[in-house]
């Protein structure tokens, strides 16, 4: 089994499961916000705006979990207490997958992959849950992620696909080649 192929750990209670789901959404907010900041720094404003929008969507999902659980304060889970199937939470886009010249189509592809991973994650939890409340909640969240997958796919039809030379920069930040 490789580093990235760990099995998901089954939360014992609904509260633990929802804390996991909340942490997943919050990590996604953090990563999308970081991408938006860095794209602004590198003057890729269109993609920065798109990542900012995605951070907003994930923040709404997090708020929805808070509302459903009647939490006024997020349960602060110590880092390291969460166990994810990969290196990071399934909905978190890997930090290394962005490029300063990327276009909205690329950003949506990353979001699509993240939503698909989230859907698979909840499906896996639902299939191995040992309590009915966790299984039901996991199925609900899986269905929500499936909706997000469909929405991103629809969004992708509305943005132009980049040409093959999208990463070419006539004034690159390097002089070594």
């Amino acid at each position: 089994m490789s580093v990235t192929e760990k099995a998901a750990t089954v939360p014992a209670t609904l509260a633990e499961f929802m804390a996991l789901a909340l942490a997943m959404e919050n990590e996604a907010v953090e990563r999308y916000s970081e991408f938006a900041d860095t794209m602004e720094t590198h003057n890729n404003r269109e993609v920065a705006a798109m990542f900012r929008k995605m951070a907003g969507y994930e923040a709404k999902h997090a708020a929805q979990i808070m509302f459903e659980m009647n939490w006024t304060e997020a349960p602060a889970v110590p880092p390291g207490a969460m166990s994810w199937p990969g290196y990071e939470a399934p909905e978190t886009v890997p930090s290394g997958d962005v490029h300063y010249l990327m276009q909205p189509w690329h950003a949506l592809q990353l979001a699509l992959a993240a939503e698909e991973r989230a859907e698979q994650f909840f499906a896996q939890i639902a299939s191995i849950a040992t309590t009915e409340s966790v299984r039901r909640a996991a199925l609900e969240l899986q269905a929500e992620e499936a909706e997000h997958v469909a929405l991103v796919k629809e969004w992708l039809t509305k943005v132009p696909q980049p040409d093959r030379n999208w990463a070419d920069d006539p004034d690159p930040p390097r002089y070594s080649d």
């Binding site: 509260a15 110590p78 990071e88 490029h99």
Partner: protein, 278 residues
């Protein structure tokens, strides 16, 4: 309902309001995240942590944390960190930088910091290149890395930081990967907890000058064996691995620099002020 116990500090507690200006995709973003997560794992008070760096892209890190920070001169981060820890043993001192700063300009400090075994943690974000100065070969660059600045490669054997650290006396030697921020955070937390000098090489891709390093995510792997406290076994393991073993490779039992072994400084700040009084 709240069955999950609250904690005082989260990773966000250790981040400053300054936004990193690294290139999008740079591994240093997640190393920063791992450092803040490690501090949160240990529930360190931000004002009880000193983050010290040298010069380079990765050496910007102190500004991005809310802890006390010192952005020092090139290659001298370990000297500054050592001074801080010896003067203030109550602080957690974390020194951070890159492979050029740490192994070339600061190479001598690196060896002697390992030898002194002062209780601090040194994180080197290793991308095998000088990124800030636009892509020159660094001490850890592969000898056959071909680019216009070193056509055909430098032909020089790459510096092996883990072997040097172990041979020089570091008490904790580990390798991590920036693409695994949670795993890296765990290793950093272990390094901070471990007494003495802890050295952690974090493979952190430079996506601008070494874009091929994006593939590191598919080649890193856990070490095949458990950490050892036997330096001879650790040396054999480190010298024969492929450079992509991720985890703690050596955790020794040398006593840290004895100046403050008792946990108390030998001199108070008042004593030192008296000494220097004109």
């Amino acid at each position: 309902m709240n069955e999950v116990a609250p904690v005082a500090f989260t990773a966000a507690s250790y981040k400053s309001d300054y936004k990193p200006i690294w290139c999008p995709g740079c591994g240093d973003f997640t190393v920063l995240s791992a450092i803040t997560k490690a501090f949160a794992i240990l529930q360190l008070q931000p004002h009880q942590v000193g983050v010290v760096s040298g010069i380079g892209c990765s050496s910007r890190i102190p500004a991005y944390t809310s802890c006390y920070g010192f952005h020092g001169v090139h290659g001298r981060a370990l000297a500054a960190g050592t001074g801080l820890k010896v003067a203030r043993p109550d602080l957690t001192v974390l020194v951070a930088g890159g492979d050029g700063d740490g192994f070339s300009i600061g190479g001598n400090h690196f060896m002697h910091a390992c030898r002194r075994n002062v209780d601090m943690t040194y994180i080197v974000m290793d991308n095998h290149v000088y990124g800030m100065t636009k892509g020159q070969a660094s001490p850890t660059t592969e000898p056959d890395w071909d680019n216009k600045l070193s056509p055909g490669g430098t032909g020089i054997r790459a510096f092996h930081p883990l072997v040097i650290a172990l041979a020089s006396g570091a008490n904790f030697v580990a390798r991590a990967f920036s693409g695994d921020p949670n795993g890296t955070a765990e290793i950093i937390a272990q390094g901070i907890r471990h007494p003495g000098f802890s050295f952690i090489e974090v493979l952190s891709p430079c996506v601008t000058f070494r874009p091929e390093q994006r593939e590191w995510k598919s080649v890193v792997h856990p070490p095949p064996v458990e950490p050892t406290d036997d330096p001879a076994r650790a040396a054999r393991r480190i010298m024969t691995d492929d450079g992509f073993n991720i985890g703690v490779l050596y955790a020794g039992s040398r006593n840290p620099y004895p100046h403050y072994r008792s946990g108390k400084p030998k001199y108070t700040v008042e004593d030192l002020e008296t000494e220097f009084e004109l």
